[in-house]
Symmetry: C2
Subunit: 167 residues, 2 copies
Amino acid sequence: MTASATIDADTDPEIVIKGLHIDVLEGAFSWFIRSLDYAVSRDLDRRTARLEIARGKGQITALFLVDDHPGVRPSQIADVLMRDRPATGRIIDRLVRDGVIERRTDPADLRAQALFITEKGHALSQEIREIIRQQEAEFFDFIAPEDRPAFMRMLKRTYLNMRKKWD
Amino acid sequence: MTASATIDADTDPEIVIKGLHIDVLEGAFSWFIRSLDYAVSRDLDRRTARLEIARGKGQITALFLVDDHPGVRPSQIADVLMRDRPATGRIIDRLVRDGVIERRTDPADLRAQALFITEKGHALSQEIREIIRQQEAEFFDFIAPEDRPAFMRMLKRTYLNMRKKWD
DNA sequence: AGGCTTGATTGTCTTTGACAACCTTATGGT
DNA sequence: ACCATAAGGTTGTCAAAGACAATCAAGCCT
């Protein structure tokens, strides 16, 4: 018994952890987002531990991007991930080493690479998508179905707003 | 021009980054949460760069907790942070080294420590709170005032739901 | 042709975070 | 009272993430 709370559809829950009222942090969207990220990431790592993919958000997002956009370039992935190119390059290194994607040089621009998913990579991708679906279901099932679109919309808009400030 | 979107009050925005439709990831709450965390964290690091506090969420949350709960114990902080005790211990080390909090042994339990804020620490805490208020205002100002409580409530409930599964 | 920009890699450094082992103090059962 | 066990913290080690600078190669633009 370390966390307790009253959860109601319409009231603002109080947050108490090990006897500490962490009211301070309430009112701070960012704090919840950061804590949620930590939890979601760890949970996802656990769920994917048995798979042949290194943990970390970057790997999975990159894999999905290659799966959905054959020929995508590392720099595009870097932009989506908001990482610099060296970091993205190493993520891709690992995916290539694991045999889930392939690097080819783009004939139209010899500097650039075009990335393609392998069969193994596609299968892995499908498996991870299913895992994420399960995670979503378990983590967010308490949000009433009719509230989900609203929540998602707010997240998206926050994301887009943030990206605008980013560039 | 790397991110573009149509933002409407009521429509679901499309997300396009550098020409990539990242529809795949839509429908995944977790992806937005993770991306948002990344952005919010980096932004906060930038804003607090000039301050005498190491970057990282742990430092700030721990500082706030000590500021609000004089005599709090490291293990309680570890629980809020969802970190293990070694990690929490090192966060506290840094805060003590920087002179913003003090370690005393709890007379009631000689194993345990009671943490207290210093004057310097309290001043720093106030300063950071103000910075966070500003960040919140800039990041989340596009959420209509009447929608904010709902958004916050959903975040809180997600957080609490997650903590329940955590323990 | 020359200079500049873009795509990507390599090398290095710092920071996080996880895990295991250890020491000290409380607690609880007998 | 005593011994085993649990709880609070510290130290040591290791791996991974991420940031930054420097480098190389290819295209673009006058």
